[in-house]
């Protein structure tokens, strides 16, 4: 009696313990609402190039459907005509505003939206917003690929296929299927080993959530009891939906693929709702052994297994004969394993890394937050394509760069920002997130090479309590140089191995001359250069050595972007922004975006450097940016490190700054300079982002004087001076010499030797 009581008590306690685990962890894991991240909403306004922003595609992605006629157009539908688009915009909630549902007409003129009017009032509207697109959701801390679905997001035949092969009595059993267990036990007895499992979907789900994959009697008992408890506490629909999102369906690089939504995207390049019967059967077929039965590994085996599922579906009356035979004969076309162009997962990871700074990470995983980001969905897609195709082209050009091991392949990243506000608009941290989640835009620090040089020129051009070290009319000395360092003499060399004698400041930067820049840096001093870099937004350690001037420091692309954004915005450093608003499940705004700016550089100096960099893009190492007809203001700088291991390209327009890095994770030569390896990626991105016509101008701020100088001497050009070019100066720094009778004499270094060399050079030219 006592033994029975004790036995009952112990069993009861064990079951109660398991129930606690189920309710605490199952509730927490299964029924939590994921946090969703949205892109910035698209704004439509008169003057906008609707083709450029891919209006029709955007509306289709947002689920707007084309209606046959304009009568009683319901929200979410549109009618596209030759010169007007009528669209009934859906209402949506945004943290700071509630956008009402609006029936509007967009009049199109050429490629532009000419006018927006609301119906039926006919009131002209200045702008309307489309609801923001969802970029992704956070479901757990691991790197899992998961496209969450509800039962309404999947076709019935997918559920049927899974039930047919995995658990045909799911609707009726209480969590454990004794009939199936008996059948499996018999089969295993006959085989003399464990060949077949008797687990129901609920048991599989429990195993995934709480238990290890070991096959012991004790674990099976736990699994069965927990499955019964889950069925007692939750309805079949919830369990099935959870299973569809949880089930492991293969591996892509280091990333586990979970859920039918993600599997549909991976195997067929489509959303789950669009899966055919044959495709659904394949997904159901591979559940048993996702990697062994993967169509990428053995297509024939996968087809055999798929057909078995289709047979089961027919035999169980889930599909008819006609559907069965059509699906069975359907050829299996799996998607090429290419990364999704709209993939924003590097960005989502960045958001997740930044969020704990403002919000509790635990809540992030379970509270159903809505995170409104700054990402521009269109630019993100363009950036992804530009990077991946650019790298593929490099490999095609030089097959030695190609490797069969995806984890060792040529890599790259691209990141873009709005310089005035610091909003990150696009970010692709690597070639394929599925293969490597390491974000090269924000987590990698690589030697930056010549993209660091503008900081040297800023330090030299900036008038800090006196005359600047140089003006844009100065000359630099590009003759052999030796600088003593604690580790021995340092002798910088140019990329072409030549020395170019006396060169103008413009020429030195446009041709990215190392020796002239190193000599200038030696004069300005590394401490001062580092101080300038810090002010502009560089936070990584900067070694105070002479080679710092040539970019010997290891920096991340996001730092470089921030620094160049400061130049682009006239010396005002923006804080990088990735989140606009953070809203909890109850709709309460937890965090509002706050743009932050700090004036860190005199606008005049910022303009002079912008002008120099514009010259680099016009005539210098970055002149290739114009080769495909990109028009408008561009300032840019190339950077190629020793042995062509790191290729950098940084460029900005008045409204966009973007950085491209190309290289191997384990540094080795890419075999080409930045102008060949990184520039084309930047060019394609900006061309497609702007439509080829860049808006705005680089305008000189007050305090900048524009005068003509003699390019040979740097002297002010008066009437009678044979040659002249326009140059910019901070007020009070104009050359004192005049042409035709004088020259500036402002030779960097100003040593007698240099001076005589300069005279000699000048004599030859005159």
């Amino acid at each position: 009696m006592l033994t029975a009581f004790l036995g009952g008590f112990i069993t009861g306690s064990w079951v109660v313990g398991l129930d606690r685990i189920v309710t605490a962890r199952f509730d927490g894991q299964r029924f939590r609402v994921p946090s969703r991240v949205f892109a910035a909403p698209a704004i439509l306004y008169p003057g906008l190039d609707w083709k450029l922003i891919e209006l029709r595609e955007t509306m289709q992605r947002l689920g707007y459907r084309e209606a046959p006629g304009t009568r009683d157009l319901p929200p979410g539908q549109y009618v596209w005509g030759p010169s007007r688009v009528r669209v009934h915009l859906r209402a949506f909630e945004h943290p700071s505003r509630r956008e009402p549902s609006r029936d509007v007409v967009l009049r199109l003129k050429g490629g532009l939206i000419d006018e927006i009017r609301e119906l039926p009032s006919g009131i002209e509207l200045g702008a309307v917003l489309l609801e923001p697109e969802q970029l992704g959701a956070y479901y757990g801390p691991e790197h899992q690929q998961r496209q969450l679905v509800t039962l309404d997001d999947v076709p019935r035949h997918l559920v049927d296929a899974i039930l047919a092969v995995e658990d045909q009595r799911f609707e009726t059993h209480p969590g454990v299927d004794l009939q199936r267990i008996g059948g499996a036990a018999l089969a295993n007895l006959r085989a003399g080993s464990i060949r077949q499992g008797g687990s129901t979907l609920t048991q599989q789900l429990v195993k995934n959530f709480f238990l290890t994959p070991e096959r012991t009697v004790w674990r099976k008992a736990q699994e069965a009891v927990m499955a019964l408890l889950v069925e007692l506490r939750y309805d079949k629909r919830s369990i099935l939906q959870s299973y569809l999102n949880e089930i492991y369906l293969g591996q892509r690089g280091a990333t586990a693929v979970h859920g039918v939504g993600e599997a549909a995207r991976l195997y067929f390049g489509k959303t789950a709702i669009n899966l055919s019967v044959a495709e659904s059967a394949l997904i159901a077929a591979i559940i048993q052994s996702p990697n062994g039965l993967s169509p990428y590994r053995d297509l024939e085996r996968a087809v055999r297994r798929r057909n078995l599922v289709l047979d089961l579906m027919r035999n169980q009356g889930r599909i008819g004969d006609k559907t069965h035979s059509r699906a069975r004969t359907a050829s299996l076309r799996v998607a090429t394993v290419t990364p999704d162009a709209d993939d924003a997962r590097y960005f989502l990871d960045l958001v997740r890394r930044r969020l704990p700074e403002i919000y509790d990470l635990k809540a992030l995983r379970s509270d159903g937050l809505r995170i409104y980001s700054t990402l521009d969905r269109r630019l993100q897609r363009i950036a992804g394509i530009a990077l991946r195709e650019g790298l593929a082209r490099l490999e095609a050009r030089n097959p030695a760069l190609k490797t069969d091991d995806p984890s060792r392949q040529l890599q790259g990243c691209i990141i873009a920002m709005r310089p005035q506000t610091g909003e990150i608009l696009a970010m692709v941290g690597g070639r394929d997130y599925g293969v490597s989640q390491f974000d090269r835009c924000t987590q990698a620090r690589r030697q930056v090479g010549s993209v660091f040089k503008p900081f040297v020129y800023i330090a030299a051009l900036e008038p800090t309590g006196g005359a600047p070290a140089i003006t844009l009319a100065s000359f630099l000395d590009d003759s052999p140089l030796e600088i003593a360092t604690p580790s021995g003499p340092w002798r910088p060399k140019n990329y072409d191995g030549e020395f170019h004698g006396i060169v103008s400041v413009r020429e030195a930067l446009e041709r990215s001359l190392n020796v002239a820049t190193a000599r200038l840096a030696d004069r300005v001093k590394a401490v001062r250069i580092a101080e300038v870099a810090r002010r502009l937004g560089i936070t990584s350690p900067l070694p105070l050595v002479p080679s710092l001037a040539l970019g010997s420091a290891d920096l991340s692309p996001i730092e470089i972007m921030r620094a160049y954004a400061t130049i682009a915005s006239g010396g005002i450093r923006p804080e990088s922004q990735i989140i606009e608003d953070l809203v909890d499940a109850q709709g309460k705004t937890l965090e509002r975006r706050r743009l932050r700016f700090k004036r860190v550089l005199d606008p005049g100096t910022a303009y002079l450097v912008t002008s120099l960099l514009a010259g680099v893009a016009e005539r210098g190492t970055a002149a290739g940016v114009r080769s495909t007809g990109l028009r408008g203001p561009i300032a840019a700088k190339t950077g190629t490190t020793d042995g062509e291991r790191d290729l950098w390209f940084v460029g900005f327009t008045p409204e966009l700054v973007a950085v491209v890095w190309v290289g191997f994770d384990e540094p080795r030569s890419v075999g080409v300079p930045s102008s060949v390896g990184a520039l084309p990626i930047w060019r394609r991105f900006v061309r497609e982002a702007t439509g080829g016509e860049i808006r705005g101008k680089f305008l000189p701020p007050p305090g900048i004087e524009q005068v003509e100088i003699d390019p040979m001497t740097g002297a002010l050009a008066l009437a009678g001076c044979a040659e002249r070019r326009t140059e910019y100066f901070i007020r009070g720094t104009l050359p004192v010499e005049v042409c035709p009778r004088g020259f500036s004499g402002a030779v960097e270094g100003d040593s007698p030797g240099t001076r005589s060399e300069f005279f000699e050079w000048l004599r030859k030219r005159l």
Partner: protein
């Protein structure tokens, strides 16, 4: 004697200048700048952006500050180089007694106005006044007094009460 004459002259000039300022209509070309005046200037993006700024000011007038800020942010999203959008946000934060934020936007507005050749005494009044308010809020009274005095002098019709309402900027 010279000093007295000089003082008289200066005083007269100041009075004339002040009367001149007061007598000019606030909506006139020579009164303090109103953003509605530049509504039709610039390309499509600038015009759309400025319209959103005006819409934001309308919300500001109605004390719908969340909606107002949202309109200003969208204005910046459409045209990040629109100085009037930053000016409106600087005013918005000045009203909320957030001088640090106000100054940041003011810096950006000033830089963009200057580099786009849009600086003039008509807009300078607002820049000086808002900067003065920010200094006032941070306890830098001397600078505040100078700047607000300058704003009052440039645009007495607006800045005599040491405040720039959304309606006055609109």
């Amino acid at each position: 004697m010279h000093r007295v004459l000089g003082g008289l002259l200066m005083g007269t000039l100041a009075a004339v200048s002040a009367v001149g300022c007061v007598s000019r209509g606030p909506r006139g070309e020579s009164g303090p700048l109103r953003i509605s005046e530049v509504e039709r200037q610039g390309d499509g993006a600038r015009r759309a952006s400025t319209r959103l700024v005006l819409s934001g000011l309308d919300f500001d007038v109605e004390s719908e500050s969340g909606r107002a800020l949202s309109e200003y942010e969208r204005a910046i999203q459409i045209d990040p180089t629109n100085p009037f959008a930053y000016l409106a946000v600087a005013r918005f934060y000045a009203d909320l007694f957030l001088p640090g934020r106000s100054l940041e936007y003011l810096d950006q507005a000033e830089l963009l106005l200057e580099s786009q050749g849009l600086s003039s005494p008509r807009v300078e009044a607002h820049l000086a006044g808002l900067r003065g308010l920010a200094h006032l809020a941070t306890g830098r009274f001397r600078e505040a007094e100078t700047l607000l005095g300058r704003a009052r002098k440039l645009a007495p019709s607006v800045w005599s009460d040491a405040r720039l309402s959304p309606d006055e900027l609109r």
